[in-house]
Amino acid sequence: MFDVLDMGASGLTAQRTRLDTIAENLANVYTTHNAKGEKEPFRRRFVVLGPGRAGDPQKSGVHVQKIGLDPSPPIPKYEPGNPDADANGFVNYPNIDMSIEYINALEASRAYEANVTMMEVSKSMINSSLRLIA
């Protein structure tokens, strides 16, 4: 029965990683250079979850399978005055849609809450079981 709590914790970790990734996307929504300073727009990151605990797929739970890069093309915006603009005056901005990120963030935080609720209920069940002997 105590295993339920570890499983819940794996869910919390996964959803938090998801939320972190979304926050990273939102933070970099206007990033047009990479870490080396080269002109390359930031690519949207997304989390792929897989069943089974991290490091031990036999145990029930969830883990972050990978953090993938969205292959969709960058969004060009016409900004001729921008030093990052190409010959036609377009600047390539990251392929991030704010509304999608917001919706994903909402989903992740709701899933996080559901996991917390589940853990609370499991805890109360364990407690009442312990009352049997105490």
Binding site: M1, D3, V4, M7, G8, S10, G11, A14, Q15, R18, V48, L49, G50, P51, S60, G61, V62, E107, A108, R110, A111, A114, N115, T117, M118, M119, V121, S122, S124, M125, S128, S129, R131, L132
Partner: protein, 132 residues
């Protein structure tokens, strides 16, 4: 003596029920944990089927006399219920259904615990020959 004493009451039935609610809670938690996992199919134990199995055993026990039937081998079968919406990622999920089920399951668990406690209290009272 205690084996016989315990076997003559509802204690074995309640014990099996507790095992069931604990196992079901684990599966429901697993479903909630995997709510964003692509291709994940929900797992559950059917309360109705398990109660049917229990009822059969209880009737069998009533028929054959108290203490004659063992409840220890009763196990609920793992199921993949086809409920909730099937999403594009191949997962079927229904958060509302899951949360309702876990609430009902927890209530059932606590109710069974309470019944079992009362039964133990009665036994203790009988042993001590005075109210506890």
């Amino acid at each position: 003596m205690f084996e016989r004493l315990l076997n003559q009451t509802n204690a074995p039935v309640l014990e099996r029920m507790l095992k069931f609610t604990a196992a079901r809670q684990k599966l429901l938690a697993e479903n909630v944990v995997n709510v964003s996992t692509p291709g994940y199919r929900q797992k559950d134990l059917s309360l109705e089927k398990f109660q049917g199995m229990l009822r059969e055993r209880v009737e069998q026990r009533d028929h054959n006399g108290l203490g004659s039937t063992s409840f220890d081998d009763l196990e609920a079968q793992l199921e993949n219920p086809q409920r909730g919406m099937l999403f594009h990622d191949g997962a079927n999920r229904s958060m509302e259904q899951l949360m309702t089920d876990q609430a009902k399951n927890a209530l059932m668990h606590n109710f069974v615990i309470e019944l079992l406690r009362k039964q133990f209290q009665t036994m203790e009272m009988a042993l001590k020959d005075r109210p506890v």
